[in-house]
């Protein structure tokens, strides 16, 4: 088959409305709705851009199509996030995808958001060293998720470990908040930590069975440290913010890696991938590479644009499903609760 395959991907599972166009698995455009997209298309600018999917969807799709430089008629299929996520948000994306594909007379493809995070690793890029080989383990870490996924094939995935309370990204954000850094302050923790001593404060590791995680206890430990510290010295946070951030970040990364190493040893897998917004954390990236090298791991870290919620990963998953002729019917329903195996 010589014909080029163009897939439009639409993501609207939670906060962001995003659209992307891929050609044979290569990204032509990857747009996220923001104020500048609204300005470009002269639309109404919503006060709170977050979760205003209804206002965002047409401008962001227009933007993705125009950057890709193709006409709508060239699209082979439209892929959309079916779940998991906020039902109201998912409905906007799925309804748009259905109407749009019906108008164009092309099939729709339903995509599982959590599978898409993992499959973002297969987005084609000739500058990359290659793609993970099956089976591999993917650590998906973001503000909403912390999972170790055993990936046996493109669509054969199993969660073998996950958080039992807070997500790792949430721990970063909430620890930042205890020190007066506005939510979401995770990236600032990374910045302060660069100048801090990771061994200054020692936090205990959670005792959770198997490959599961817990970050709620660490959040509370930092909260108590700050509370007691401020009682003794009102400038405690100001004086120690770098060390608190460095120590907390060190603990989070240690916890993440400890279970990942356990899982890798248990499943005898040395191909390790990471996904989700927290994979932007500098210490996590560094430790994955240095610890991974010692353990003989082959580590895959995607570009940041494909780590956070994005539509390119939805389009990529759509492309892989297109090759399998795995299309959805018009009555395919958005699902808030959807496990990675579906």
């Amino acid at each position: 088959m010589n014909k080029d395959i163009y897939i439009l991907g639409i993501e609207s599972s939670c906060d962001d409305t995003a659209a992307a166009v891929l050609k044979n698995g290569y990204v032509l455009s990857n747009s996220i709705a923001n104020q500048s997209i609204h300005k470009l298309y002269g639309g109404v600018i919503p006060e709170a851009a977050s979760r205003a999917h209804m206002q965002n969807i047409i401008p962001v799709v227009e933007n993705a199509m125009s950057i890709a430089g193709i006409s709508k008629k060239e699209l082979a299929a439209v892929a959309f996030t079916r779940g998991p996520g906020l039902l109201g948000s998912l409905l906007v994306g799925s309804s748009f995808a259905k109407a749009f594909s019906m108008g164009l007379g092309v099939p729709i493809i339903a995509v599982n958001h959590m599978q898409a995070h993992v499959l973002a690793h297969f987005i084609r890029d000739d500058t990359k060293k290659g793609v993970p080989t099956f089976p591999f383990l993917c650590l998906t870490v973001s503000g909403g998720h912390t999972q170790i996924v055993l990936v046996s094939d493109f669509f054969e995935m199993k969660v073998v470990g996950e958080t039992t309370d807070d997500a790792a990204g949430e721990a970063f954000d909430k620890i930042a908040k205890t020190m007066g850094v506005p939510y979401p302050g995770g990236p600032l923790v990374d910045k302060f930590a660069l100048a801090g001593d990771p061994n200054r404060f020692v936090f205990t590791h959670p005792k959770v069975a198997g490959f599961d995680y817990s970050f709620s206890g660490l959040k509370t430990a930092v909260l108590y440290l700050v509370r007691d510290g401020v009682q003794a010295n009102s400038d405690f946070v100001q004086d120690n913010i770098n060390d608190i951030c460095a120590s907390a970040q060190y603990t989070i990364v240690e916890i993440l890696l400890a279970k990942l190493k356990l899982a890798a040893a248990h499943y005898k897998i040395n191909t390790i991938a990471v996904a989700g917004g927290v994979s932007a954390n500098s210490l996590l990236r560094k430790r994955l590479l240095t610890d991974g090298e010692k353990l003989g791991w082959n580590v895959f870290i995607p570009d940041f644009g494909y780590c956070t919620d994005n539509a390119a990963m939805i389009a990529m998953t759509g492309y892989l499903k297109f090759l399998n002729s795995d299309f959805a019917a018009q009555d395919s329903a958005a699902k808030a609760r959807l496990s990675i195996g579906n």
Partner: protein, 137 residues
């Protein structure tokens, strides 16, 4: 009613007492600072209701939906990231509150005016290494 929690071992009994005391109620609004233990208590309530899914923090997802062993649905909300009540309305939270399913709501103060009038109010206070859950309905 007031319940005292001095250790994690008290949680199970506390959850059972709460559900029993509020037998005919479905919407529970939780109040308490970050780290007070709102998610932890809700995990225990879900366990008492025989939720089979992993119960974790909905701070990012805003709404978590769980299934119980006898096919009931339980909703777990966190309005921490919500900027105003209109946002919560747009998410469709009213449909959930009046669905007849159990709704456990963290950071309920953010959507005070949207709560059904017969909601249970559960305040978690953290005093001298002890947690006190004050329940009013």
């Amino acid at each position: 009613m007031e319940l005292n929690i001095t250790s994690v071992n008290d949680l199970e009994q506390c959850a059972k007492t709460m559900l029993d005391y509020c037998k005919d109620k479905r919407v529970f609004a939780f109040y308490g600072e970050m780290g007070a233990g709102k998610t932890t208590l809700i995990k225990e309530l879900c366990k008492a209701l025989q939720v089979t899914d992993q119960v974790n923090s909905p701070t990012f997802s805003i709404i978590n939906e769980y299934q119980t062993a006898d096919d009931m649905v339980v909703y777990h909300f966190d309005f921490y990231r919500i900027k105003n009540e209109e946002e919560a309305v747009n998410i469709g939270c009213m449909d959930y509150f009046y669905s007849g399913s159990y709704c456990f709501i963290e950071w309920a103060e953010k959507i005070h005016n949207l709560l059904p009038s017969d909601s249970v109010k559960a305040e978690i206070h953290f005093i001298n290494e002890e947690r006190i859950v004050r329940i009013t309905s």
